[in-house]
């Protein structure tokens, strides 16, 4: 995670205050806090197969559509028609025109045959997701059992923030952690009631305000977390009202909340600001990533509603344009429908037309 702060292209200047020198050179002791229900000691494997199963809908599509074109087992280069079909399959998955055209063009230049297409795509997509060049932790949600862990959850209206928070809280509580949820959506009707239900289901503490000052809730939650003194391993998750990134004042409000975090968090803490993106979102997600990153120094993306038919190709576009790793995946409306993002599983899910 701290790698992220050092990246030269890290988008927000506001990252500086929270990455104190002590923090920057010291790694938190992290455990693998994968989905406890996965039942596999490594955690990761369970998430892997779960994600794959959840992607059943998603997968019916990408290379499946190409099957007729790529069934040819010979080694002759793909013809123009096949390349176009390839490009179109990517576009249909919301990869965006640029990325789709670039990948198809590479395939053409390399003179790839049908058989070579899949390995090529897998490698390229892994690269795009940063899963090759970055450390193996790149796509992992940061957590330190020796410090306070702060998860700041932001995104446009209806993306799935509150639900994600419920699921995340449930996961941490399942690992025996103290979890405090800050009800930072003081705007939408019954937002607090909704979050309250999730907090109760997860067994987390809930901090609310009588006023509608979202920054005050953050302050209260961070104080509550630190009141007892020992914060090691504790978790604070901050819900925020959905907002469209072109609303200046609402983005300012997020900046204000971020500044409270910078000020009130203990010197050693984990900071994750997650942009929640609905997998059905089109190209607008790029603008979301850009503007939210400027406001709160995003550290990752949570891709929700992947249990639907959307392929979430926009995640590749975001990763490429903004070097933002996908860290979590929402695959349903139940409390344990949360998966760690696994680049290999995700890509194989997209490509593997016959795995299930």
């Amino acid at each position: 995670m701290f790698k992220l702060f050092n990246r030269s292209d890290s988008p927000s200047p506001s990252s500086a205050p929270s990455a104190t020198p002590a923090q920057a050179c010291e790694k938190p002791n992290s455990e693998t806090l994968a989905d406890p229900s996965a039942g596999d000691s490594s955690g990761v494997k369970g998430a892997f197969s779960g994600l794959r199963a959840a992607l059943r809908q998603t997968r019916n599509g990408l290379l499946g559509q190409l099957k007729t074109l790529t069934a040819d087992a010979s080694d002759k280069p793909l013809d123009a028609e096949a390349l176009e079909a390839f490009e179109e399959a990517l576009i249909r998955a919301d990869f965006g025109v640029d990325l789709a055209v670039a990948l198809a063009e590479q395939a053409r230049q390399k003179g790839l045959s049908a058989r070579q297409l899949k390995p090529f795509l897998r490698e390229e997509l892994m690269r795009v997701l940063g899963a090759v060049s970055q450390s193996s932790r790149f796509n992992e949600l940061s957590y330190g059992d020796d410090r306070l862990n702060i998860y700041f959850v932001v995104g446009v209206n209806g993306a799935g923030k509150t639900t994600l928070i419920g699921k995340l809280a449930h996961r941490f509580v399942g690992h025996g952690k103290r979890v405090i949820i800050a009800a930072g959506d003081t705007f939408r009707a019954a937002a607090e009631e909704q979050l309250g239900v999730w907090a109760q289901r997860a067994g987390a503490e809930l901090v609310q305000t009588q006023t509608n000052d979202a920054a005050a809730v953050v302050y209260d939650a961070l104080r509550l977390a630190q009141d007892g003194g020992d914060v090691a391993g504790s978790v604070v998750i901050i819900d925020t009202a959905g907002r469209l990134q072109n609303k200046f004042n609402l983005m300012e409000e997020l900046g204000k909340m971020k500044r409270i975090i910078d000020k009130e968090a203990p010197a050693r803490h984990v900071y994750e600001a997650l942009l929640v993106v609905d997998a059905t979102t089109g190209q607008n997600a790029l603008s979301q990533a850009k503007v939210f990153a400027q406001a709160v120094n995003l550290t990752g993306v949570a891709l929700t509603k992947l249990d639907g038919s959307a392929k979430g190709g926009i995640a590749f576009h975001i990763a490429k344009a903004h070097q933002l790793p996908v860290k979590l995946v929402g695959v349903g409306e139940q409390i344990d429908d949360l998966k760690d993002f696994d680049a290999v599983a995700f890509i194989d899910g997209l490509l593997d037309e016959e795995a299930l």
């Binding site: 576009i91 998955a93 009707a189 072109n246 607008n284 639907g308 959307a310």
Partner: protein, 505 residues
């Protein structure tokens, strides 16, 4: 910032250099159209059909013979979009049945509950007596959300505490409506994936038992390629009567609208333009067409301005503009406010200035940001008197200011000329704003366009006369110009707060 279709076609066809659109380069031009639509999130299948239609039209003589084929092609595309989006248009069916039943459905988080509240509010304003039925029994506190909206609006909401029986809730709600004489019921249902057969069956059952007069599919304007599948599935299973496109107050291009209309053949009936209860409007195909093509989006700019600008200060500045007392001090204040709006490039991109290419925008913006600093230095070197009355600044004063700010006297005079032009423009824009306020939308649009044109005209004229070197110099002088002068007038534009009513898009 996304390139607009005109930007792209200008590169492809290089119009202005006499090259015309021919059958040979038609494919290249249409590729631009394809890309623009895909970047606006129109689903690929729909794009393909659409391109076919545009090709047919464009191959007609009118476009080929036109001196400005790029612009002409943009027009063909635009008109075809308007045509497709508007072809099926039909108003809400509110007169049938007693009560008239409206059912809302769609994916999770698309805006069903919010739209239910907005629609109830609209119905009551039109003299009806609506009842809302809370039939989302799955999402935590979904019932509370609708009840809270009802309370806020003073509109009755029916729910059964603890019940998970959607059919029973709807049945009893309807009984209540009949017994108590409600004219309309709005059934808010839970969000669901169109591939979730159990959940779709629930809707089907509701549909069969209650035969709603309106079945509204609520779609998020940010939806990507999946829009087509979502709309298709809901429509085949429930035969949708209309669609609501929400969150258009964002900066998504909204191409999903074309996808869903094409694939269902059903009209978009309403659009959501705010989280608040007054943010619901009728659908205007022409506005959306312009938006999909990225042809300037003054409405977004207005909204952004509204959220960024200090209303009181803006009013004060506006008053000064009207009295022609706008000073360099006010200019500085304005610049500070405008910085909040985003980069110059972004602002320029939102303005519907014909022929303003991406390159020009970037050049202006790039030159502009640097130039702004120099202008600040100049203004700082002026006396308060000079700031209030720039007319006082003649040769010797200009020399002094130049020395103080590390600029050249010509720079100072040039800036003051720009400032004069700006003042003139402000007059025009304030006028537009006044006209819009008084309901004269056409007049407002005309004033706005006239102002924009004359500003661009001045610029173009200048660079033409003074030759190449001066051309570049002319631009950096602009930072205060494009859009900025209009800003202070915008906050008070009518309906802006509701995100609408503004005529330009």
């Amino acid at each position: 910032m996304l390139e607009t279709l005109s930007d792209r076609l200008q590169q492809t066809l290089r119009f202005g250099t006499g090259k015309t659109l021919t059958l040979e380069n038609m494919d290249d031009a249409l590729k631009d159209v394809r890309r623009a639509l895909l970047e606006a999130d129109v689903s690929l299948r729909v794009v393909k059909e659409f391109i076919g239609r545009v090709r047919e039209k464009a191959e007609g003589e009118a476009v080929l013979k036109s001196v400005n084929p790029g612009q002409q092609l943009v027009k063909v595309v635009h008109d075809e979009l308007v045509h497709l989006l508007g072809e099926t248009y039909a108003p809400l069916n509110l007169d049938e049945g007693s009560p008239n039943i409206i059912m809302m459905f769609g994916l999770q988080g698309s805006g069903k509950t919010t739209t239910s509240g907005k629609l109830a509010r609209r119905l009551r304003k039109a003299g009806h007596n609506p009842l809302m039925i809370a039939a989302d029994v799955y999402r935590p506190a979904a019932v509370d959300q609708l009840v809270a909206l009802g309370k806020q609006l003073g509109i009755d909401t029916f729910s059964i505490a603890g019940s998970t029986d959607v059919q029973q809730i709807a049945r009893q709600g309807l009984d209540k409506a009949k017994a108590e004489g409600f004219s309309h019921v709005i059934i808010d249902t839970a969000g669901r994936l169109q591939v979730d057969t159990d959940m779709m069956a629930e809707l089907l059952l509701l549909e069969r038992s209650f035969k709603p007069h309106e079945k509204l599919l609520v779609i998020d304007a940010m939806t990507g390629q999946e829009a087509i599948h979502v709309a298709e599935a809901f429509n085949t299973q429930l035969s949708v009567t209309g669609m609501v496109l929400t969150k258009l107050d964002g900066d998504a291009r909204g191409g999903a609208a074309l996808s869903v209309v094409s694939v269902t053949g059903k009209p978009i009936k309403l659009v959501g333009l705010s989280e608040k209860m007054d943010g619901l409007q009728d659908f205007h195909p022409d506005r959306l067409a312009g938006r999909i093509l990225g042809m300037g989006d003054v409405v977004s700019l207005v909204e952004k301005a509204q959220s960024a600008i200090d209303e009181d200060e803006a009013k004060a500045i506006e008053a000064k503009m009207r009295k022609n007392e706008f000073s360099l001090e006010d200019f500085m204040k304005m610049q500070r406010m405008l910085k909040k709006l985003g980069s110059l490039d972004q602002i320029l991109g939102m303005l519907p200035i014909p022929g303003l290419t991406k390159e020009m925008r970037e050049m202006v913006a790039h030159g502009g940001e640097g130039q702004l600093k120099r202008i600040e230095a100049m203004i700082n070197s002026m006396t308060p008197e000079e700031r209030r009355q720039p007319d006082l600044i003649k040769k010797s004063r200009a020399q002094r200011i130049a020395r103080g700010s590390g600029t050249k006297p010509e720079d100072v005079t040039q800036f003051l000329q720009m400032f004069e032009m700006m003042r003139a423009m402000m007059g025009g824009l304030t006028r537009a704003s006044d006209q819009a306020k008084s309901g004269d939308q056409a007049g407002a649009e005309a004033s706005m366009n006239k102002t924009m044109h004359s500003a661009m005209g001045q610029l173009m004229g200048k660079k033409g006369k003074k030759g190449k070197k001066n051309k570049m110099k002319g631009f950096p002088g602009m930072p205060g110009m494009p859009g900025m002068p209009g800003m202070p007038g915008f906050p008070s534009l009518p309906g802006g707060g509701k995100g609408g009513g503004f005529p330009f898009k």
